[in-house]
Amino acid sequence: MKKPKVGIFDFACCEGCQLQIANMGEDVLSVLGSIDVLEWREVMSEKWGKKLDIAIIEGSITDPHAVKRIKQIRKKAKILIAIGSCATIGGVNGMKNNFGLDDIRKYVYGDSYRFFPTELTKAVHQVVKVDYFVHGCPMYIPEFVALIKAALQGIPYYPPDYPVCVECKLNENVCMYDRQVTCLGPVTRAGCNSWCINNGNICYGCRGMVSNPNEKGAQDVLAKYNIPMELILNKMNMYNKCRELT
């Protein structure tokens, strides 16, 4: 069988999701053994620029140049995979959309702000069609591996659509609400194995919202501790501001 041709491309992001791949250690060699990586700027000087079987996209679309580039990549790729919250939901870059674009440019660059064009932050699927989503900031490697396997076989992958609380309960954590701290677990899509709560912090909502955030579980938690939905939605803006664009 011919190895699939793969390219890895980054847009506005911290490149932490690519690093997650490097952090797989020697296991990355078995992944690299089953595919043919032809373009990956962070570690390769080689440039490919032709047809690809799989394009892996990291980062958000934030300026006119990026819109053009992602459209070109989409055209030459059979399958397009978005990795990390920046790409799948806009992620932290979306907080920019809380401000006027000129306002934020002037704040950061002063009088020379005109040199630095920017647009509203968008997730990749808000610009081109995306075939697979690996959520998370950063993405969770076991999910990435499972998804790549599915993509290579051409079968769909569905991320969980229940809240982080489900995983959190299985992990037997003491609920943050019982510790008098607000947590976004009840409205956030699971799949990270309640990573942050396992480590004593709260869920910040990095994997995006479950498709029906008003579902019963979430409501029960919020009602029990008398927390208005509005407060939670405000906190959701750290990662989920871009959902307003769709």
């Binding site: 506005a12 911290c14 490149e15 932490g16 999701c17 690093l19 997650q20 490097a22 952090n23 797989m24 250690g25 020697e26 060699l29 690299l32 990586v37 990956w40 700027r41 962070e42 570690v43 390769m44 000087s45 080689e46 440039k47 300026d63 140049h65 990026a66 992620g91 932290v92 870059n93 907080m95 920019k96 809380n98 401000f99 306002d103 934020i104 440019r105 704040y107 950061v108 660059y109 002063g110 020379s112 040199f115 630095f116 920017t118 900031c137 950063p138 943050m176 510790r179 008098q180 701290v181 947590c183 990573w195 942050c196 396992n198 480590n199 004593g200 912090n201 709260i202 906190k235 750290m238």
Partner: protein
Amino acid sequence: MKKNVNINVEYITRVEGHGNIVINVKDGKLETCRLDIVEAPRFFEGMLRGRSVFEAQHITSRICGICACGHTLASIQAAEDALGIIPTEQTTKLRKLLLDLEMLDSHILHIYVLVAPDLLGVKSFVPLIQTHGEVVRRALRMKKTCNDLCDILVGRHVHPISAIVGGFTKLPRLKDIDAMLNMLISIRHDMDETVELAATLKFPEFERDTEYVALVSDDAEYPLLMGDIGSTDGVRMHKKEYRKITNEFVVPHSSAKHTKLSRESYAVGALARFNLNAEKLHPKAKQIASAVGLKPKCINPFLNTVAQLVESVHCLEHATGILEDLKNNPLNYDEEIVVGLNEQRRIPVRAGNGVGAVEVPRGVLFHNYHTDENGAITNANCIIPTNQNTANIEHDMMKLVPEILDKSEEEITLAVEMLVRSYDPCISCSTHLMNVKFVK
């Protein structure tokens, strides 16, 4: 014959982020020599306005995946300075350990993945899998070990979970400390082999005297987490005065601002730290430095990679020392905190202005936050190492290119690319934007 050279290397590959090198030689005379930063700005400082200072670590960690722990530590330091929190001795110890691990992780990545291909004469790390399988496996093994160590200490390396303002939400148990210690010991041998490999690499001979800037201190510890700001030209200032050090100015060709201090440019990073603090390195690191002939003040920028090697040895030993100490002096688990976004005001909040100055792999990093009486950020400023180095890189190129003009265009291109890469420029960081001035 007078030579014309026109080089425009778009997207210098193998550096984190996007940069262009532009060189223009006309009739044997250097006309242009630039490093353009073209990455899409992400406006972090702008986005922080109005957010709780308790969210700042979480957000600014996302400036850079490679220095996630460094941004975390600088951010926490700035926030705690603004709030008037003095971290406990235990917290400081664990933060130093985290910084050692990040330094080691990043230096290893840089030496193997980003620089070794140049020196071994291949295009990238990928063909090395065939030709230098052992080297590749070693690199990945070391990288993964550093990453796994951070997973234990702070939940994950990209992006740390348990290191927050006020301390740690989860402290490593005794078995975790044992595991970390064993992991560090397990890569000792790989470290020795890395030193051997590095000793065989040939670095270009090139020198340019410049000013080096790094944290300095009066105690005997190699300063990474805390200290004043010092320079090889004799400057010494408190971290609160960081703006007098960086003197940022905007240049039209770059979305990252440039900086200067006593001269037209200055350099930060492993070589700068080595030049200012070499005598405080761990004895084993000192020994390696003298074995490879690195001594202060070294003014060959290509040798920044060698300084990174020396620091890797130092950090490995220093981290091992901390863990051994933690075995004998167990942690106080009552210090574990539950904070969230501090809606319950468990940590007292006040209006303030705080600065964090931390040595991260690429050099000294500054975070500065102003907060209101509710702990909301009113102004934020981050000055990233790569920005501080850009002007210095350009001055290096201006001296280097005329010296090698008799070479082919390919060779010149490779030489300047190598020069830029030796600074380990995290360009993705440097476009996360500098604030011109605080509107007060």
